[in-house]
Symmetry: C2
Subunit: 424 residues, 2 copies
Amino acid sequence: MPSPTSLPKGAAVFAQSGGPTTVINASMAGAVLEAKKFPKVFTKLLGAKNGILGVLNEELFDFKAEAPADLKNLKLCPAAAAGSCRYKVKTEADYARIVEVFAAHNIRYFFYAGGNDSMDTADKVSKLAKSQGYEMIVMGIPKTIDNDLGFTDHCPGFGSVAKYNATQVMEAGRDTEALYTADTTTVQEVMGRNAGWIAASTGLAHRSEADAPHLIYVPEIPVSAEKLAGDVRGVLKRLGYCFVVVCEGVKNEKGEYLAEIGGSFGADAFGHKQLGGAGEFVANLIEKEVGVKARRNKPGTLQRNGTHWASKTDVSEAFMCGQRAVRHALLGDTGHMVTLVRTSNKPYKCDTGLAKLSDVANGEHFLPRDFLDENGTMITRKFRDYLEPLVKGEVKVPMGKDGLPQYVRLKRKLLAKKCGAWKK
Amino acid sequence: MPSPTSLPKGAAVFAQSGGPTTVINASMAGAVLEAKKFPKVFTKLLGAKNGILGVLNEELFDFKAEAPADLKNLKLCPAAAAGSCRYKVKTEADYARIVEVFAAHNIRYFFYAGGNDSMDTADKVSKLAKSQGYEMIVMGIPKTIDNDLGFTDHCPGFGSVAKYNATQVMEAGRDTEALYTADTTTVQEVMGRNAGWIAASTGLAHRSEADAPHLIYVPEIPVSAEKLAGDVRGVLKRLGYCFVVVCEGVKNEKGEYLAEIGGSFGADAFGHKQLGGAGEFVANLIEKEVGVKARRNKPGTLQRNGTHWASKTDVSEAFMCGQRAVRHALLGDTGHMVTLVRTSNKPYKCDTGLAKLSDVANGEHFLPRDFLDENGTMITRKFRDYLEPLVKGEVKVPMGKDGLPQYVRLKRKLLAKKCGAWKK
């Protein structure tokens, strides 16, 4: 580790971006607790309220004003405790504003947890600061349930959403199996706009032919109405019941999102426009074309906040990513995102590496074709080998006296402002 | 306990009915394991495959042919391991068929886990057998996530669905809170066609004003579009975000189900018929009338099979209900359902009692008005006191090497048939 004198001395700001995950707070806990050990470098530990919006609005809070126990308990806390946003920084004025706020508070370290877009933002902030001669270190922390970031073996957040959905599909699959004489099929819609990692991960529950899910549809493999109905009929013929998992971003053979179309593959068959997403579309298709009842499950935001059933491996790795981002900053590294590097699979071992923010910003990592079988609807042994270590281990969340979890809520008392209002 | 000679000697059949719950298998485990202790009375321990359909179709299996470890592990297993159905026994021919199959296999004990309809079926079977001079004992075991059975303090299954939904609303509520600048509101639809117990139970997560849920809608209190939109606007004004829980059976002021109407409260405002259930209806209303984004969560059958997050209290009580049904049968009791009797609340103590099947068949237990506040959208201290003991305690489900639960699946090898085919 270099001597603190060779590093810029100033405040560090931690921000969270985009859709929450089960473990994004574990990453923040890892980073903040690690940074706390180096008060000579990090003169202040600040949080940005609601991601980059907190920087733009100059809404910053001091982590040292939070109770130490709360910082520790952040490791097991759903959603984004600092607040998040979906704001896309695009204009030069916005980037200039970010650097202005950083300079006003002598913020020299920016730790940003997010996906591709956030890494792009972090990269541009880093470059603008450099061009203005404002010395600072910018480090990205990977975060996305979608598992679609490049340059990393997997993303913190994915293991937990996989464990959550696979477990629940296993459990609800038993319901379909028990009640098949009435509720013959069930369709579960899971998240994933462009990549099918989450949908595919539910395949882990399919240990035997009887086990749900029986069919999985992912965005990487377009599917026609005819194929889908035929697949379901085939399962019904074998088992008498069928549990289908469909990713929200599945498309038909024309490249149209099932969730959006009401044309060729929808209105003709059912006489009305589809409204309720890909799962609703598939359930309607099964009811009308196959002629059996289809139940609908759509966990929605529940799947990315299921802290009570988080993967212990995922929580630990997310925490480690936060720690390592700080460690790398202390080594003078900047302009990089921490990556997860699988150094061994049996036994599973995972270390961290670095990727350039600009590289991560432009990459999107799709499900490899050989992670699914020939029909494209079930996972292979290869994907199981990849996935199993990521979902292993359970956590013990803090419980209240009322029988429910007791999660931390940060106070987020805002610092006095030093800049004028943000001109949007 | 009477001497075995005063009791009919013969086979016992155990059957599960209607929608599965997280703990209906715990009740079956309790009953079967208890009955196993009395081989001089219960000459065989049979399961009916798919509830009463298994009796009608003469599809019976022998619990003694199952692995002893599997019977023990049934206590923590989602859905209905013997199989369930939604078949309503109505005709005299069907009732006569049931008694015919019982007599053919010398079945003298019928243990039926279910709700009102199942207790009605059990009652009629009991009476028909008696009128035919066929000596048998019929005992009901309460089962419903809906908690709408009368004569019992609460129903096995309710505590677990309450713990599941309340925890998940708490967790997803943090998502809405973190991302309110984009995803300002979230609507979660939960089960409950006529009674709002499940929806109301999520109120347990609302420990402070910031905590989800902020508004709860139940079937017992009809709500107009105007009131609902006004309620949401009020929460948004105070907090900036809003999490709504709506029961699938909520009605408008005209008594129409929100899930079904496309008229006065739907098509006028939005120009199309509502299709996706009560949650979809409320989410559309918020987007169109209040003008903010609404996310949709619909756990569907996930909520009644969440064994990984079952209430330990609920599992124990469900097991006890099964045991006690057998114990009462051994005392010669018949024509009754086991009930749960809360003998003390602080500390919580629960014993069992009995109610006549015919009484239970005709009762429906709605949410008392004083369990909700004046506005009808949040629970009161009185309901908290009732609910908290029921959701307490966590379970430890058996885990596989792949990081997912390892649940039992019964072999259900069918006995040779002795009767002709069922004439439907």
